[in-house]
Symmetry: C2
Amino acid sequence: MTAGMGGLCCIRPPCIYVSLREATYSYGNIMNRKAYTVSVPGEGYWREADYTGIASGRDTDKFKDTSLTPIKSKVVDAPYVEEYPLVLECRLMEAFKLGSHTMFVGEIIDIKADEDVLTNDKPDIQKIKPILFSFGDRSYHSIGPRIANAFSIRTPPIS
Amino acid sequence: MTAGMGGLCCIRPPCIYVSLREATYSYGNIMNRKAYTVSVPGEGYWREADYTGIASGRDTDKFKDTSLTPIKSKVVDAPYVEEYPLVLECRLMEAFKLGSHTMFVGEIIDIKADEDVLTNDKPDIQKIKPILFSFGDRSYHSIGPRIANAFSIRTPPIS
């Protein structure tokens, strides 16, 4: 599925979350397998990502529909998307029901990144070109230019 | 403070989270007041946002240091930043300790946006120009061009 809500939420252990409705097919899969992966599509895949956010795995084989390739993770019991440049493989740590959505917090067990999105052996967001999803007006956006290094302004900035 | 980890996590009720270390000054404030606000800086404020992510409110008055203006929220017991274009005012709903970081889930009680970041009366990410933070390589990035409407590819895309 395509998750519209997710992100980093802890450093030690390194954790991410995704928030899903109970009605989704993935909800049951994650509860049963106690694991999930997050495959981050580059912006060239926005059509595939949009379609897989609408169709349900209960009704159709979304890998076949999109010609994307499922690869079985070796570290957790879940597949990931071969064509997407960055993959996070997670063991389910917590499931917090908040209301319409349940927050699945997963410990990141491994990260896979395509060689061509690395800079100095680290995933580079300027090369991954992830799709940014704006929830309020239901739209996708690109990443723009790099602004600056973080943790660089150690004295009050002069305005 | 500047939080590096946060995002939307539920729709009904509408919730966001921020993940903080227990050692931060904000951690105690949120626990005591059962409330917080999130003020989203436009990219022109990256120096202010970077500085307020390094300095601690225990040691210095960061509003004074940056010439930013604190405004007392009328709906929750916390201040927000007048100069930042988008503000979310939250009532603390849950505090989940995950490890190094605790996830503060807040119900969004009100949203304030500057007139000049609205399109059809809704906050427009292209006008807000939020700062994107890449955790791995500690860098800030701009938002780029709008790609497309979401929920538009209802049949399998042709590749």
